[in-house]
Amino acid sequence: MSATVHAPAPRRTGIRRWTAGGWLRALWTTPLAFLLATGLVAGARAALGYEPLLAQQPYITTLMVLVPLGFLAGIGAFDYWVRYVSGRPTIPDDHANHGAHSWKDYFKVNTDHKVIGTQYVVTTVVFFIAGGLLAMFMRAELAEPGMQYVDPQAYNGLFSVHASLMIFLFIIPAFAGLGNYVIPLMIGAPDMAFPRLNALSFWLLPIAGLMMLSSYFIGAFGAGWTNYVPLAVQQPDGNLMFQMGVQWAGASSIMTALNFLVTIITMRAPGMTFWRMPLLVWANFATSTLVVIATPFIAGSQFFILFDRVLHTNFFDPGGGGYVIAYQHIFWFYSHPAVYIMMLPGFGIASEVISVFARKPIFGYRLMALSLMAILILGFSVWAHHMFVSGMADWLRVPMMVTTMVIAVPTGIKVFSWLATLWEGRIHFKTPMLFALGFVSMFVIGGLSGVYLGSVPIDIHVSDTYFVVAHIHYVLFGGSLFTIYAGFYYWFPKMTGRMYNETLGKLHFWLTFVGFNATFFPMHWIGTRGMPRRVADYDPMFGNWNLAISIASFALGASTLVFLYNMIVSWRRGEPAPGNPWRALTLEWQVSSPPPIFNFDEIPQVVGSPYEYGVRGARHAILNGKPVQEGREAAPMEETVP
């Protein structure tokens, strides 16, 4: 294939501008869907003789199904399929929606995995900031005992929306975004297997996020991101926004995961066998399998609550014969694997970064890949360790404790292998490497506190306390977020074509690392001493510690400004990035930064492992007739520090 330049879609004029897929069409299809939903609810209720005509719960639910569909139809997410289904001619090689020719293309339905990857990353960072601000409000309230700024229900809304945004709108999709950008490049493919599905998965995300945030207008959901019944049924109608938001975000997640699976299985370049895949590709393969199997369970659990609320079914209502604990089983059957959905891609990123910046092959490549698969399988057998004190069947506790602790073994293999990769390396402490090593050390703490929580007797004491808050943040902040940062910095040159500022990157790392530990480490202590979680008010004996934690958390929040400044300014005015600033061997670094519109002008031929640093004569792939070997042919490493 030659490097054809595909022209952008022809400009439309007159009425056509309002009927072609895009924001102008969405401007009238969205209100149309709103009216349709209103008519549907009012009409159906009038026909059945129900009062009032627009009862809030059914009305909100219908709106949240139809309005997003109206918006998606408006911006053109379904155009190709509608044409196909209705028998009108389609243009199989229509690339009008492919690639970005100006910044405006990032706000359209685009089928280019690189554009979608960037859309994902930027959108998730926006929700990350929103979720972070909610955490700042929480810490302000907690700085001293007693109630100061918010009332208890509003506080419950703060931590519920904070967790929901961070989990469903930041960590999971941020990994999906990075994967979207680099996985087709890493396996030598021109794009994802289903580019239109890929575009649709992205556009579901902002819908889910806005839905969760706008719950504040009708009473934020305050039953936690775990949304346990019966409290969830008692909550204000904002709870519906959580239930429907999870559906949209979950649908996005499932579609992306299917796309990854098909892409990884069918679109690898010639010679890219499974045992030659970079570990990030392995990690996304395992993650996508988890998503496809587990996510329908949370969708189901939230639908059941929705039905209990809106249709007055009795899935979980003991008054009607429902079983309260059934919810927790269904919920955690997704939400424990979800912890691995939020960790495995980070393991992949850490493996890429540590190998490249230690200039060494990853230690024990095959065991690294196999341990990912072991975690995938074991991950489905541990969910009830979230329920040791829930009153579930007693006998389940010990088996679930054993499987939980056994997961420490493959996880330990990964940690020890990363450390062994450093041994006798030539370590360059660039920002991505700092975040990757910060991840290893912080994740070890999170993993070890996980062993505490896995032991039933210890869990009986510390479950539902600040110990759990500390644990989850060492795993999801020290684990997931540190690797997301590592990934952002590592692929920033590839995605934007510019270098970030190394000094600011290092400053960001150290502020984050120190602020993170100062914020979350003391929580272990206040938890074991007796402070329960999810409380707006607490025993004055914890006052000084909470004040210290709040101050540290504000510093941690402020460190994000360094990151944002660096990313925005470097994207606009950074040094132009060479194709391979890190002298890496994986395929995404063998093309220009940013890559050509269809990634590879010539299909690469993969001939060896992606991590053969220091091995004379070893090659990963042959590209443009040139071997990819040790990166010596590529541009020298960029030095931004004088």
């Binding site: 024990g364 070890v444 032991s455 007797p457 220091g614």
Partner: protein, 331 residues
């Protein structure tokens, strides 16, 4: 590297040893659980010291100058090492799991003879605890235990899930609507403790607490006798609850301040001021239909709407009469 590892070990050990991590032990369960806690803590501290030692040493020893263009040694793996670091953690987790399972079984064991332990029924509701002593035919807003006597707590909840936790006893158990759950405590130390609700249960979750008193054998008998006298003093079988008792057992004081009852909670409005001048009918409405009128600065839907079902007619009447007398029209 050994030096760094030892230093990391000393720091980790110091953090573990010199900081009082756990609350006081006041039950046999606390002793069992703390043994496991420290066993796991030692293993985790050693592993952390190892990881920290190796990474700090490697980072210092193998760092490359900025302009270095060389690669590291092409080591792809080491089967022996990989077997060891799979096998040793496996052994360690099995050891921790076995110890945990044994401690769990010990903590939850009751004597075979039912005379050697007491059973207490615990009912949680938004946002209060009540404790029923079936043998004494008493229901109280506080948990009273006899030192060194095992108790079996049978828990349930009226509305949403709550969780019973006394940090000094280490034991925690969710109270779940529709089913009965169970936990065992053998208090070993006289004193006063708090029951803390640890499962998010709504707006009053943070203040949903109750008192626990562990009494010596003599004091416990005195407390039992006091209850019997109270019942006799009422002149009727079982005794009809007074308004003040209903106020306590229904948990009103968890959310409302009332000077006469000595409660100071701030979740709901201060009864001394909002009930001022109000008559029986209007106070009754505010109890059974709390959303009918919301005091300024408070939210609807916070107070449970089902007190009409929870309390008997006699109890409601007694409660309303008590409130009218202490804070309402007849004050």
């Amino acid at each position: 590297m050994i030096v760094i590892g030892l230093l990391a070990g000393i720091v980790t050990g110091g953090v573990a040893y010199f900081i009082p991590w756990l609350p006081d032990q006041a039950s046999t369960q606390a002793e069992d659980i703390d043994e496991v806690y420290w066993f796991v803590a030692i293993i985790c501290a050693i592993i952390f010291a190892l990881v920290a030692g190796v990474s700090i040493y490697a980072g210092w020893k193998f760092r490359a100058p900025a302009d270095d263009m060389d690669d590291g040694s092409p080591i792809h793996g080491h089967t022996g090492l990989e077997i060891w670091w799979t096998a040793i953690p496996t052994v360690l987790v099995v050891a921790m799991a076995v110890w945990s399972a044994v401690a769990l079984a010990r903590a939850e064991t009751l004597p075979d003879d039912p005379d050697e332990y007491t059973t207490i029924e615990v009912t949680a509701a938004q946002f209060a605890w009540s404790f029923t002593y079936p043998e004494l035919e008493r229901t109280e807003g506080e948990l009273v235990l006899r030192v060194n006597e095992p108790v079996e707590l049978l828990l349930t909840a009226n509305d949403v899930i709550h969780a019973f936790w006394v940090p000094e006893f280490r034991m925690k158990q969710d109270a779940v609507p529709g089913i009965q759950t169970r936990t065992v405590i053998t208090p070993t130390k006289e004193g006063s403790y708090d029951v803390i609700c640890t499962e998010l249960c709504g707006a009053g979750h943070a203040v949903m607490r109750a008192g626990v008193r562990v009494l010596s054998v003599e004091d416990y008998e005195a407390w039992v006798a006091e209850g019997e006298e109270g019942a006799e003093g009422g002149g009727e079988e079982g005794g009809e609850a007074t308004g003040a008792e209903v106020f306590a057992s229904a948990g009103c004081g968890s959310c409302h301040a009332l000077a006469d009852a000595g409660t100071e909670a701030e979740i709901g409005p201060d009864l001394d001021s909002v009930l001022d001048g109000r008559d029986e009918e209007s106070i009754l409405t505010s109890i059974v239909d709390p959303n009918a009128e919301i005091s300024e600065g408070y939210q609807p839907d916070v107070m449970p709407p089902d007190y009409e079902d929870r309390l008997s007619e006699a109890e409601l009447d007694a409660l309303v009469a008590y409130l009218v007398e202490t804070a309402g029209a007849s004050r």
